[in-house]
């Protein structure tokens, strides 16, 4: 069955089969990590790998946090004892961001990106214009190595120099674009401004930032179908979109859990939580690595035929989540409140403490403040967050532009 629709037969395994096969590999990975990664030898000292045969057993293992990773790396550079390979087994080292180092092993498609590129419509022989950066961060090489595994040819464009990028695209006529969606927009705008045509571009794989539907539509008007991939510098590919654009399908060589932020406890299926990733590749065996990103499991299989679990796209950063009067408040909930009221341009939830009681104020930038709108927002917050909050109106530009959705001002005592 020469079906080019799927990258390999792993994508269409029955769910129970995938689960059992992944846990066979996980047991091997845990044994390997205990034996070859000094840090995991410590962290997993009381763990019997053979007993970790399902998700409930996995949920008892310690969570690996980025903060611990960077502290361990300071003590024991470059990888803090987490890597499980000989120095000669590594091809490259990256620093992304700043003080955190990541390795690249020698195996082909080390970050497993070929699967995502295949789902995005890239095929053997395609020329790809890759605008992810090739230095400091692994992003450029991540997709580069995936593209090579797929049999594509890569123009290593890197970031910036928009006019040179345009000239290269016009001359080489690549079929695919890889990079951030916002840089693609810059390229398209510049091309329009200069009257250049980039008609060779037909497919795109974008990552690194959220892709608003409006931008996707705009890119689509230019004749480029872009699909998203979700990856981090530490664990590589986590999930990817397929042509049906219905959620992001998990990669076949990671085990993903969605947990209460700040804990290792899985949330009930479908609820928003922090993404924990356990990799099955041996060189850098991160176990229950906390990405700091929020998402939720989407029920049911993808209409495209891939059977792996899907997650919703990126739903905010977990580290902005907070607990108010015993209840978690997530940025995604605030986003929901904002999306329900057209009048709100931007908003931020400020949490503070008065007389030993938590108080919440949603500060909203609105064009036309009204009592009715204020009351409606208060009701929505109560519905969405199950908490009372007051609402304060500000004019346009009243909130600082720092990406914060929840600002927890409570003093730490």
């Amino acid at each position: 069955m020469a079906d080019t629709h799927f990258f390999d037969s792993l994508e269409t395994r029955a769910s129970a089969q995938r689960e059992s096969e992944q846990f066979v590999l996980l047991v091997g990975q845990l044994c390997h990590a205990k034996a070859n990664s000094p840090r995991y030898a410590e962290l997993l000292s009381g763990v019997d790998p053979d007993a970790v045969t399902d998700r409930s057993a996995l949920a008892h293992l310690p969570v690996t946090r980025k903060s611990e990773l960077s502290q361990s790396q300071l003590r024991d550079p470059p990888f803090g004892g987490y890597a499980a390979c000989e120095e000669g087994d590594l091809l490259r080292v990256f620093a992304s961001p700043g003080p955190v180092f990541e390795p690249q092993g020698r195996r082909e498609d080390f970050w497993r990106f070929a699967r995502a590129l295949h789902a995005a419509g890239f095929r053997r022989g395609d020329l790809i214009h890759n605008t992810f950066s090739y230095h400091f961060t692994p992003a450029g090489f991540m997709v580069d190595s995936g593209a090579h595994a797929l049999g594509c040819t890569v123009f290593a464009a890197g970031t910036g120099q928009t006019e040179l990028q345009l000239q290269a695209i016009a001359a080489l006529r690549p079929r695919g674009y890889i990079g951030t969606p916002s840089f693609l927009k810059i390229i398209l705008d510049k091309a329009a401004e200069m009257g250049m045509e980039l008609s060779s571009l037909a497919v795109g794989a974008v990552s690194g930032e959220a892709l608003p539907n409006s931008l996707r539509d705009e890119i689509s008007t230019a004749g480029i179908e872009v699909l998203q991939a979700y990856a981090t510098a530490d664990v590589g590919l986590i999930a990817y979109e397929s042509s049906v654009r219905d959620g992001m399908i998990l990669d076949e060589h990671v085990i993903v859990e969605i947990v209460e932020p700040g804990t290792g406890d899985p949330v009930p299926e479908g609820e928003v939580g922090e993404i924990l990733v356990t990799t099955l590749f041996p060189e850098y065996p991160l176990i229950r690595f906390a990405t700091g990103d929020l998402s939720a499991v989407l029920a049911g299989p993808s209409p495209c035929g891939r059977t792996n679990q899907r997650i919703r796209g990126w739903m905010g950063r977990a580290d902005q989540s907070t607990k108010v009067r015993g209840l978690f408040v997530h940025p995604s909930q605030i986003m929901t409140v904002i999306n329900r009221h057209e009048g709100i341009q931007r908003a931020r939830l400020v949490v503070d403490r008065e007389n030993n009681a938590d108080i919440m104020v949603l500060r909203c930038e609105v064009d036309e403040p009204s009592d009715a709108l204020q009351e409606a927002i208060v009701r929505t917050i109560r519905d969405v967050c199950k908490l009372r909050a007051s609402v304060e109106f500000l004019g346009k530009g009243g909130l600082p532009d720092d990406g914060k959705v929840i600002d927890d001002k409570r003093p730490i005592d």
Binding site: M1, V24, G28, F281
Partner: protein, 275 residues
């Protein structure tokens, strides 16, 4: 299964629930169990990629060369565990694999190739000479071509050389991987005939991996069908030949109306090692 074993002599080889992972992340065998009786000819059947070669290489310990690892399960030969023994030691114990694609030493003559098969023996030149003549009685064609460079002999002759070379090690059991590959049907038949004679006259036990299901089941007494790294069906050759699904999916005989691939049922076999 019970019938097949009770009719035959004792179990020579027993593979119990082995799991094999390549390169740390590719799970190829997902719990394969099988038994080969002493003096038997057993076939491992299934499509490309089902795990036939991996099963053979697990037994002969040739996985290491391909970064493969048996992560679970046991393999016993004559009741003793043989895991972790080098391929070299296994040959001395009587297990030898004839690899897919013959793998003759192309620059050596046919006879030199045959003699390399006796490398692990220590019973003297005259015994080896005697066995060389024995090989030539089974493969008269090799005698004719004994001084030809192997690389210039035909595919069928190379397959005969590979099988003859294995015989020179005085094996108890030969693991024969895809002998039919790339050979004309009459030649395949000839090779299988010789396998049968060696089995009857020299008491060599065979475990054969084949995609040519029809031919294999005519010469084997028992067969295992592998699908996606698991044994999905096993039975004596006649029952498999008569099985409707085997006919349809492995013998290419359509029973009644044509089914599309989507309707193909994939077998799920109960794990008998758990009982």
């Amino acid at each position: 299964m019970e019938a097949a074993l009770s009719d035959e002599a004792a179990t020579l080889l027993s593979v119990n629930n082995i799991e094999v992972v390549y390169d740390h992340v590719i799970l190829v065998l997902k719990g394969v169990s099988l038994e080969v009786p002493e003096g038997g000819i057993v076939a491992l059947l299934g499509a490309n990629g089902a795990g036939k070669t991996t099963t053979l290489k697990s037994i002969s310990n040739l996985l290491v060369a391909e970064r493969g690892d048996i992560t679970k399960g046991t393999i016993q030969f004559k009741g003793e565990s043989i895991q972790g023994r080098s391929a070299n030691q296994l040959v001395k114990r009587g297990i030898i694999q004839v690899m897919e694609g013959r793998r003759c030493f192309e620059h050596l003559t046919v006879e030199e190739n045959l003699l390399t098969g006796a490398f692990t023996r220590s019973d003297g030149a005259s015994a080896i000479r005697r066995d060389l003549e024995l090989v030539y009685t089974y493969f008269p064609r090799l005698k004719e071509r004994r001084n030809s460079t192997s690389g210039y002999t035909s595919g069928g002759e190379q397959q005969m050389t590979a099988l003859g070379r294995a015989l020179m090690a005085k094996p108890i059991m030969i693991l024969l991987d895809e002998p039919s590959m790339g050979l004309a049907p009459t030649l395949v038949e000839e090779i299988f005939e010789i396998m049968q004679q060696l089995n009857q006259n020299e008491q060599v036990t065979f475990l054969l991996a084949e995609q040519n299901t029809n031919m294999a089941l005519r010469y084997c007494r028992y067969g295992y069908i592998l699908e996606n790294g698991r044994v999905v069906m096993d039975g004596d050759a006649n029952s498999l030949l008569g099985n409707q699904d085997v006919k349809e999916f492995y013998l290419g005989v359509s029973g009644g109306k044509k089914k599309s691939f989507r309707d193909v049922k994939h077998y799920r076999r109960r794990k008998r090692w758990l009982t």
